[in-house]
């Protein structure tokens, strides 16, 4: 990596690491922040989508004549009106913006209407006549794999499979004193971002401008451009304020943007499309449900000898990012433990359920639930404390992962975290205290931990771009391809720019994402915003600073290497009374016609992956976390109350303690939902939970006390040592809760979510 990164990560930091207030908060508390649905343009039409009546059906014909005749309707479109590519997809091009001949789930769109009001557009949808030939459905992944099952796509029902083989599991099991085998399952989960998907498309000269609510403006641009048959340069995608994403606003966002763009170009008028909550829950992709079979062998001393893991994920109707999600699950399936003998087989398959894709955790919440549950089950079997068993097997520097990656180049802090967790949560005291209880309310404490590969790994090309421009009056304009999803990217990246330029953070003006300003920087997913975006912003800022240092050296009569930028002032290191303000220096540079703008480009270190053997360097660096949960269970009602969650994270370096804590609170809230509340239910591929009444999100009164604890080990490859936090914040909450429930009740829940019925049933069978 670049030398300056390492050098600067150790210097005393002025802005990075400080609890700076969120830079976009002012607009958000005054109601001034505009989200896509808040935009209005003169002559704007409203677009609506007609979706399939059957989860699996051939489309024999579409009649739009009556709808077109309805007064107020401007345009009615079907798949045959698409001028460009009909299909799209990140990995497999198997999805259509509008389906032409076959619907594969209930969210598939068949026709579009744009009208002068939303009501007229909805009325027009009812006048469109579709001739369907319903087909038998595939409703579960086990069914999907059967030879006789209907084929959802021509290429069959298997989306992707992986194999990892390390050592010899048979040998490992024969060396084990205890071998247990368990099956764990998880549910479909909706992102339930508060803002449903929305887009406003405005036709422009030979192209289109799309304002939208998306996490990855560049992939939206790709889909819009290919659908409309336009070059990328004629499609400008501008991300408005985003009302939550959590991995969910990629393909679903691309679809609504492409549809709005189709209508807008055809009508030659601006078109707004906003999904209702039920449309959002019907159409948007979900977190994959998994069936996970784990067989694990340990010695009586607690050394893990072998793990045999079988993962089967329901990918739903389209591939989306399923191959990448499953890949992360596969790589991280053993948890953060040294396992000499490993065999992992994983598959993700098509069904006629809603399709699944990226959601906060990206394949880790599922396997973390399984591996961290079985670790506790093993501890019980051999009569060992759960933290002791984890410490016995946890990675250390130089450990080899299941895929043969040697963990080095950063501090492998999982043991440090586990010890900190034990001490901070008063683990031993509480475990003992909760061992003997009477009455109907029973308490328990549980732990779960994980490791997580940072950024995309072998999923794709990993890079980010940023633009830094110092104006002649010393203001700093920063733009980056990394998007603000509400997580605080603008704030953290502003801090990194301010740190690199030695100016207060209020000198920075951070622009929103606009595909025509900055180069594609990959998606803002995989907890990569800070490390990748920060790397690019820092590089651009340092380049500008170096140009300014040369001018300053002339003015202060010294050498550029001796120039220091700090707190908005520029000094001679050896002679601090010789100084000039940053603003004055910017003015001088302008007069001397020095270009104070620069592009930063940050590329992740190379990784290597062999798909045949499932071995390789999966990710260039890793982060480590643990959660400890305390719960109280009512034995009469089965109700679980989460009392307290300690969240231990090593994100390398905390750039902003204030926003980092908020990330953790939100992650814990989502994790509790995953453990106890959220369940997207289907019957024969028909969703039964299409509103926020039947799909329960956690409310304020259900939140426990949350105690974030950061253990910082700056990473030399990361800007100022800062790596990731967004996904770790949520990915081990559920197993910690489930393990705590076990201590409280003796009931082991192996399928999420934990419901009252499951607890009561377990109590009966105990």
């Amino acid at each position: 990596m670049k030398a300056f990164l390492i050098e600067e990560s150790v210097k005393k930091l002025e802005v990075v690491g400080k609890p700076v207030n969120r830079v976009d908060a002012l607009d958000k508390v005054t109601g001034a922040a505009k989200y896509t649905a808040d935009l209005y343009f003169p002559g704007m039409l409203y677009g609506k989508t007609l979706r399939s009546r059957y989860p699996h059906a051939l489309i024999r014909g579409i009649k739009i004549g009556e709808a077109e005749k309805l007064p107020g309707v401007a345009v009615v479109l079907t798949a045959k009106d698409i001028p460009g590519e009909k299909r799209f997809g990140v990995v497999i091009k198997d999805q259509e913006v509008l389906v032409s001949s076959k619907a594969r789930y209930l969210g598939d769109g068949l026709a579009l209407v744009a009208a002068v009001t939303e009501e007229i557009a909805e009325e027009a949808l009812k006048l469109i006549k579709i001739e369907y030939k319903p087909l038998p459905v595939v409703s579960s992944p086990l069914e999907a794999l059967k030879e006789e099952s209907p084929k959802i796509h021509e290429h069959g029902n298997l989306i992707k499979s992986y194999r990892v083989r390390k050592g010899d599991v048979n040998k490992g099991f024969s060396e084990s004193d205890v071998v247990i085998e368990r099956v764990y399952t998880t549910q479909f989960v909706d992102h339930a971002y508060m803002e449903p998907e929305s887009a406003v498309a405005v036709p422009s000269h030979k192209g289109v401008v799309v304002y939208g609510s998306m996490q990855h403006p560049y992939s939206t641009r790709r889909v819009v451009a290919s659908t409309l048959g336009l070059p990328l340069s004629k499609v400008r995608v501008i991300q408005t304020n985003l009302g939550g994403g959590f991995g969910g606003k990629d393909e679903t966002a691309s679809i609504i943007c492409a549809r709005a763009a189709l209508l807008a170009v055809k009508a030659n008028r601006p078109v707004k499309m906003v999904n209702t909550r039920s449309e959002s829950m019907l159409e948007s992709y979900k977190r994959h449900p998994y069936i996970m079979r784990y067989r694990v062998g340990v010695s009586e001393k607690g050394e893990i000898k072998a793990m045999e893991i079988n993962l089967l994920a329901d990918g739903g109707a389209y591939a989306s990012t399923s191959p990448f999600v499953l890949w992360r699950s596969t790589v991280q399936a053993t948890g953060p433990y040294e396992v000499p003998n490993v065999e992992i087989s994983s598959k993700v398959v098509y069904t006629n359920n809603p399709y699944c894709g990226a959601m906060r955790g990206f394949g880790s919440p599922q396997v973390n639930f399984a591996v961290e549950s079985i670790m506790d089950e093993l501890a019980e079997e051999i009569g060992m404390d759960p933290i002791e068993l984890r410490l016995k097997n946890a990675f250390k520097n130089g450990s080899e992962t299941a895929t043969g990656q040697v963990l080095n180049g950063h501090v492998v802090s999982i043991r440090q975290i586990l010890r900190k967790a034990r001490e901070t949560s008063n683990w031993e005291g509480k475990r003992k205290l909760y061992k003997v209880q009477k009455g109907r309310l029973r308490r328990g404490i549980g732990i779960a931990c994980c490791y997580r590969g940072v950024s995309l790994g072998a999923e794709g090309k990993d890079f980010a771009a940023a633009y830094v421009n110092v104006t002649e009056d010393g203001g700093v304009i920063v733009a980056c391809g990394i998007a603000e999803n509400g997580q605080g990217a603008k704030t953290v990246l502003s801090q990194i720019a301010a740190e690199a330029l030695g100016v207060p953070v209020d000198y920075i003006t951070f622009l929103g994402s606009d595909t025509s300003i900055v180069r594609d920087s990959g998606p803002t997913v995989a907890s990569r915003g800070t490390i990748m975006g920060g790397g690019a912003v820092k590089e651009a800022a340092v380049k500008v600073r170096m140009k300014m240092a040369e001018v300053a050296a002339v003015i202060l009569k010294t050498q550029p290497e001796k120039i220091i930028f700090k707190g908005g002032m520029v000094y001679d290191k050896e002679n601090p009374e010789k100084h000039i303000s940053f603003k004055e220096l910017a003015r001088r540079c302008y007069k001397k016609t020095i270009n104070l703008s620069s592009i930063g480009w940050f590329r992740a270190p190379e990784i290597y992956w062999d798909e045949e053997t499932g071995m390789g360097t999966a990710y260039f660096t890793w982060v480590y976390s643990a959660n400890v949960a305390e719960v109280e269970v009512n034995l009469e009602t089965g109700k679980v109350k989460v009392l307290r969650v300690y969240a231990f994270h090593d994100p390398g370096k905390v750039v902003n303690p204030k926003t980092a804590k908020s990330q953790v609170y939100g992650g814990v809230a989502m994790g509790i939902g995953y453990a106890l509340l959220e369940d997207y239910k289907l019957e024969e591929c028909i969703p039964k939970t299409l509103n926020l009444r039947s799909y329960r999100l956690i409310r304020a009164y259900e939140m426990p006390e949350v105690i974030p604890v950061f253990i910082e080990n700056p990473d030399p490859v990361a800007p100022f040592g800062a790596k990731s936090l967004g996904e770790p914040a949520t990915e081990v909450v559920a197993p910690a809760i489930v393990n705590a429930i076990y201590q409280a009740t003796g009931v082991r829940i192996r399928s999420l979510p934990v419901t009252r019925d499951k607890i009561l049933k377990g109590l009966k069978e105990r």
Partner: protein, 164 residues
Amino acid sequence: MRIELTVNGEKHLIEAEPEETLLKILRDKLGLTGAKKGCDTGTCGLCMVILDGKTVKSCQIKAKKLKMNKVVTVEGLGKPGALHPLQKAFIEHDAVQCGFCTPAMLIVALDLLSRNPVPSREEITKTVSKVLCRCTGYIPIIRAIESLAEENKRKLTSKNKPQT
């Protein structure tokens, strides 16, 4: 039909359909887009406004029920440079992430503090439970409101202190 609304102290004469919701009138007709639409079932609470002194889900109020009413939306709180203490507290306590629930959270908090300047944590939590948020885990929002409750408490105790 024509209705008269006083929104954030400003009088408006509005032509509306009887079935049109207050939320739609505020957003589409008055350009006040702070109140958001997050669901179709009156569950999320993102459209909360204060109507004649009470918090309501504006998506549940039809135009035909409106007549000379007073409405307060987030836009009526404070502007940059002259922020309402609640807005300052939300910024300071990092109660804002994606911001989509923020206007509604501010409205329910404003209503609570106007009725009870020193609410307990339970009362604050109950109030915040009226609105869904997917980002913050509610903790910073509760703390922001609590900080004002504490400040109000300090002010009240110092006022009640006998003059020496």
